[in-house]
Symmetry: C2
Subunit: 337 residues, 2 copies
């Protein structure tokens, strides 16, 4: 891995006001695990007061650098109920760092691994002059990247919180994602990329949520119209698909989806204190894999189990409970640091 | 519903030898629940000695009239390990009746309901001169048809065994099937019907099986070839898709898939003794729906729960346990008849 970063958009030292946020991006050369050393763009956002401990927050493959709104960047973030005043991740007291995953701009059409993302995070910390993260908080894909980061760059993070992500993709979840990629390929056969990606997203939605939630929301008989049957959840799924394709380049989605399935990390190589948060009822990351991960972490691992009707998406929904877990982790490592 | 049957292929009375099988088909006019009174083709197969009690066996939407091989029709059947010498459904002692679902030939392009299938069964019994079934054994879609048959034609069946099917489609399962139908529609957009149906079948396979089985069979790292990631289950799924499209008309599949989602029956209207067999881990028919069904059946219902790594497909895999349940039902109703 070679670093050739232009640290763009860094503010003058000491200029940031509390809760201010800044953004930037730079290019770097990244040696990919599956071959090639392309130039990649690393885009980041950092919110919070200069000198405060830094917590990196990384979400699912659709997440990005903008976790929460700030006066500088007022648009809603992807983790707005976890990163805000009153929460453990309050940008008045903690610096919250986010980044766009390598490949998320759709310009890198090659197999991307979680190791590549972890190395990109190290480059980002170099570029920002951050020696060590107080914590890496990763959800879903972010948990996979966090595990790789802890394994590859252990001196640069004090604690890891890995929510809804394990040391490998479960074979059933991998098959589920492979079929989503086939839906895109079916669309691409005939230049119907958007329809293919929309279907893939809708199929993914079923893996992110649970039967309990669908029963609660969509327990109505189907409609028969124009000779066709339409079930109660179809409007919801159609909207979810349309919203997704409007913001997602097909190549980015394909490569990041593959990246989840390429992910493998030996838990014994992770020697950073790690809290694994599993959600009972998660259809992508079964509790048994989280248990296996924690067993492999040995003395470094702790397991927390949540029950949630939101399944894999619990991180974005069960924010009070996640915040309580984060409070425990940050208090502990704040005191020992 | 009007009957206009030509009873074709019926052998001369008394001519059948033990374990002989015969087949036939006839046309009838069927008043469909969602409109229209088309002429439909009803194809059947009856194995076993003249005068023996008749058990109708109905499977999933891909099943057909040929449950098991016989000297007359030696090709493998869809339920060969449940209908054979040594089993409760031994064609030496029981007459086993199977039929092709209405719409299975792909010639009826209209919404088909489980009530339509139930009425077709009544027409079939009329045509064969069978007053009353000793039992209706239905699995998956067959369980739905059995429930409707018991509700609509209660005098024509002594006992029902409903495996992996309930009184309504679960909203999550309905959404899963709706996305399969969208895969077909995506293929049809561009005359890639076969690819669409193959993808739909592969989606469906994930709902028929369980993560436990996939972990057992496909726990290997993905391959990277030609710049693309291929997970361990993809070969298996591709083969399953290709086999399916080779034997399934697209229209038949679409209409029978819809039919599952149209299914609704009030359990209180089922007053035939019914054993509901639920499989813990079935991703299409959750245990909670089977429990609700049995509660609605009141004194007429009994619940049996199996745990199986095969999920919704347990009927075809846990044949020893299913056979033991059938033995109990047939013994009981054989004695009281």
């Amino acid at each position: 891995m070679s670093l050739a970063a232009r640290t763009a958009d860094l503010p003058p030292a000491g200029a940031a006001a509390p809760a201010a946020a800044r953004r930037g991006e730079f290019e770097a050369t990244l040696a990919l695990r599956h071959g090639g050393t392309p130039r990649v763009r690393i885009a980041w956002e950092l919110a919070g007061p200069e000198g405060a401990p830094v917590v990196l927050v990384a979400g699912g493959i659709s997440a990005h650098r903008h976790a929460s709104p700030s006066p500088d960047f007022p648009e809603p973030g992807w983790a707005g109920d976890l990163v805000r005043a009153g929460r453990t991740l309050d940008p008045a007291h903690v610096r919250v760092l986010g980044f766009d995953y390598v490949g998320a701009d759709g310009r890198l059409d090659a197999p991307i691994d979680t190791t590549d993302q972890a190395d990109a995070v190290a480059l980002l910390l170099d570029a920002l002059g951050i020696e060590r993260l107080r914590a890496f908080v990763g959800y879903s894909y972010g948990a996979l990247v966090g595990l790789q980061f802890a394994a590859r760059h252990p001196l640069r993070v004090e604690a890891l919180v890995a929510v809804s992500g394990a040391h490998r993709a479960h074979p059933y979840a991998a098959a589920w994602r492979a079929l989503q990629r086939k839906a895109v390929a079916l669309g691409q056969l005939q230049c119907a990329d958007v329809q293919g990606l929309s279907l893939a997203r809708q199929f993914a939605m079923l893996s992110y949520r649970t039967p309990e939630e669908f029963e609660e929301r969509f327990d109505a008989p189907p409609q028969v119209a124009n000779g066709r049957v339409r079930v109660a959840a179809e409007d919801y799924l159609d909207v979810a698909g349309a919203r997704f394709v409007a913001r997602t380049p097909v190549t980015a989605w394909l490569r990041l989806s593959e990246s989840i399935d390429l992910h493998r990390v030996d838990p014994a190589r992770v020697r950073v204190p790690t809290v694994v948060v599993a959600v009972e009822g998660d259809r992508l990351v079964p509790l048994s894999d989280s248990v296996a991960l924690v067993e492999g972490l040995g003395a470094h691992g702790q397991l927390r189990v949540l029950r949630s009707p939101y399944g894999h998406d619990a991180f974005l929904k069960e924010t009070d409970r996640i915040d309580a877990i984060l409070a425990g982790v940050l208090r502990q490592h704040g005191e020992s640091a």
